[in-house]
């Protein structure tokens, strides 16, 4: 018997998303507290599920039908970990989301709850078609949120995202159709055990379709042209959600496809090359940006590319690094987007050159610095371990050319972030309005997490020791 059902992580946000319009009829003021309360409840459940999943993988059978017949949720230690990260980031971002003033608020809160629900579902599910359904939920919620500002930039970003996202979903569906038509099953582990029965050509086409489809959500080159416009045009809290929730769910789904379903254990040159290209183009274009949110968006592409590289190298160490990087990027990039939201609000511009001295207020400056240093991979912060392990993973296998490119891209990253730090901490700027509690509390929370697990990463490494089973096709 299962003590905590992982399905609650999906059912609770869904229930409250349906309830919000009714609550909104009576009072619009309580909505934000309801949403934050719901996500807080979800985070607690995620913690319980994660604790249980550490002992043994949880299978939550839905509808009472055994797996190949019905749908099952499959939560291993890593899935529980990613779900916990997503819910935790969602909780902290929802504190910042209380700031939101633009109508229609009911719809904003509904969409953000459903984005959380979709991301949770993508991480927890053990069924390939169910994964597609949750991919749809996540991406359609994202389209709505991306256009929420209802200005030209928002529409441009959302439209690009709609087009690329729909093509991606179509490819996922084709991949699933090919697999089902040959194996007559949709359960991930069932597929994995019987993969050899598939026609080799169909298998390759199916894998490529799934890889391309989830690559859109995971911001892989060259399917990531939606990223800068969408992140730039979306409300600030939504950009943070994209970076820390939907992108993480997408890359975890990709990892599932690679390791759980197709059980690749060795070096995947295809994935590594895509990863390197993603890192390289992301970082170099980020260097050329003048607007803060666009720079962060391109930097986000670069970071996702690093995760992809780690997955592609495929040794235990590199994949551990990739998972660590997912954690650190979710925290640090959400922090930076929230900080960017405040900075754009305070300076009334997106241009970095006009943000002189914005970081001199310690409530903004300290978290900002911590976030940037963590993204750059400085030792006492969590960003260090992810990058280091990916590098070491590549190094021990002797992929020197890839390592060199990776390091070069990291140097570029240092250059543009350092440029921004210089502007932000320069003296002689204007006086800016001091941040509200809803801004600095999430910033400080993220910063505290980054520092604590940066100084004391042992618990994370204990979780990541389960990567070995994950790589050999286990949950």
């Amino acid at each position: 018997m299962i003590a905590v059902h992982p399905v609650l992580l999906i059912a609770i946000p869904l229930f409250f998303a349906f309830l919000l319009p009714l609550i909104g009829l009576f009072s619009k003021k309580v909505l934000k507290y309801v949403v934050t309360g719901t996500i807080a409840l979800n985070t607690i459940i995620a913690l319980l599920v994660f604790r249980e999943a550490l002992n043994s993988p949880i299978f939550d059978i839905l509808g009472g039908f055994k797996p190949p017949l019905g749908i099952v949720l499959m939560v291993g230690p890593l899935g529980g970990f990613i779900a916990l990260i997503i819910n935790m980031a969602g909780l902290i971002i929802s504190i910042y989301g209380m700031e939101m003033k633009k109508e229609p608020l009911v719809k904003y809160y509904m969409l953000s709850l459903l984005l959380l629900m979709g991301a949770n579902g993508m991480v927890l599910t053990g069924d390939l078609f169910n994964l597609f359904v949750f991919l749809e939920v996540t991406s359609i919620a994202s389209y709505g949120l991306a256009a929420y500002n209802k200005d030209l930039k928002g529409f441009e970003g959302a439209l690009k995202y709609v087009i690329l996202g729909s093509i991606g979903s179509t490819f996922v569906l084709i991949g699933i159709a090919l697999i089902y038509s040959q194996l007559r099953t949709l359960n991930m582990l069932d597929i994995a055990t019987r993969l050899n029965e598939m026609d080799p050509y169909v298998k390759i086409v199916a894998f490529t379709s799934l890889f391309l489809g989830f690559g859109v959500e995971a911001e892989m080159f060259p399917l990531n042209t939606w990223v800068p416009e969408t992140y730039d045009g979306a409300p600030h809290s939504v950009s943070a959600m994209f970076a820390s929730m939907s992108a993480k769910a997408g890359i975890f789904a990709l990892a599932r496809v690679i390791f759980t379903i197709f059980a690749f254990t060795n070096y995947l040159w295809f994935v590594v090359i895509m990863g390197v290209l993603t890192v390289f183009f992301g970082e170099i274009i980020a260097y050329a940006q003048r607007d803060i949110k666009r720079m962060l968006a391109y930097s986000s592409i670069g970071q996702m590319g690093m995760i992809l590289m780690g997955l592609g190298i495929g040794t235990t160490m590199a994949v551990e690094g990739a998972f660590f990087q997912m954690f650190s990027h979710a925290m640090a990039k959400a922090l930076l987007f929230i900080a960017a939201g405040y900075m754009i609000y305070a300076t009334q511009t997106e241009k970095m050159s006009e943000m002189k001295g914005i970081g001199r207020n310690p409530l903004i400056g300290i978290p900002l610095l911590i976030g940037i240093l963590s993204i750059l991979g400085m030792p006492p912060f969590i960003g260090f371990y992810g990058k280091f392990y990916i590098l070491m993973g590549g190094f021990s296998e002797g992929y020197y050319a890839i390592i060199a490119l990776f390091l070069a891209a990291s140097l570029v990253e240092v250059a543009y972030y350092a440029r921004f730090i210089k502007i932000a901490f320069e003296g002689g700027g204007k006086r800016y309005p001091s941040p509200k509690a809803t801004v600095y509390i999430p910033l400080l929370l993220f910063a505290v997490i980054i520092v604590i697990f940066g100084v004391y990463p042992k618990p994370i490494f204990e979780i990541l020791s389960h990567v070995t089973t994950f790589l050999t096709g286990g949950v």
């Binding site: 609650l8 319009p21 509808g63 019905g70 719809k107 749809e136 919620a141 099953t185 019987r194």
Partner: protein, 243 residues
């Protein structure tokens, strides 16, 4: 140049996929080689999933319509997700099409008397037909999604016949919320009663009768109401009527 490149890529993708689809059988194939793996109990079975649905579906779900058995019972969780997708689409359209002030009413021409009278007469019958489709979802072809679409089409008819008509958005929202809550509520109830989310906890009754198949009709009525009100809401939002 761009067009040529696009064309070449499209042709390439077509060839690659066509070569893959050549290998795919349609319909059920020889089952001798199948052994299914159940990861929860870690056991292998000789059963085939599609054949199992056909052979045992009626017994295990009580639904006469096997498609419904698969959609609402075996893979009910997917349907919950699909309902959510539609809900999201309607919410997203509502949020993007949101208008702050009442727009000046456009000058509209009335439809002629034949259209107005006929649509008034047909409105009730179309709704009745839509309700019939989703109420009998477990017995006859159809179900919540087509039934809801039929209901929405009756409202669409009114929009076409009476240019000034608009459905009360508040009521639509209440209807879709209550229907969604019913679906999730049934799921959670199953979790508490039997330990499985979306478990079919009501008695199955006799197949082919209206009151049979346990929770399937309940879910399908909820889906029908939800789809109907959501599609109507989308039409309404597209017309630019303020909430």
């Amino acid at each position: 140049m761009k067009r040529i490149l696009g064309g070449v890529i499209a042709v390439l993708i077509f060839i690659v996929l066509a070569l893959a689809f050549v290998h795919i059988p349609f319909g059920n194939i020889d089952l001798a080689e199948y052994h299914y793996y159940n990861p929860v109990d870690n056991e292998h079975t000789q059963d085939s999933v599609p054949q199992h649905y056909l052979d045992e579906g009626k017994k295990e779900t009580g639904s006469t319509n096997i498609v419904t058995a698969v959609v609402v019972d075996y893979r009910g969780f997917d349907t919950l997700g699909e309902v959510t997708v539609l809900f999201l689409a309607s919410t997203g359209v509502g949020s993007i099409m949101y208008i702050f002030e009442k727009e000046k009413r456009r000058k509209v021409r009335r439809a002629n008397a034949v259209v107005e009278t006929a649509s008034k007469l047909l409105f009730g019958f179309i709704i009745l037909f839509g309700a019939y489709i989703f109420v009998h979802g477990h017995l006859t072809p159809g179900g919540g999604f087509p039934g809801g679409a039929v209901i929405a089409s009756s409202f669409l008819l009114l929009y076409l016949a009476y240019p000034r008509f608009h459905a009360e958005h508040k009521n639509l929202n209440i209807a879709e919320s209550l229907a969604g809550l019913t679906f999730v509520g049934v799921g959670i109830l199953g979790l508490f009663l039997a330990g499985y989310f979306l478990y079919n906890f009501l008695p199955f009754g006799l197949p082919t009768y209206l009151f049979s198949a346990g929770v399937i009709p309940v879910i399908y009525v909820a889906v029908g109401v939800k789809v109907g009100s959501e599609l109507t809401g989308i039409v309404d939002a597209m017309m630019g009527v303020r909430e």
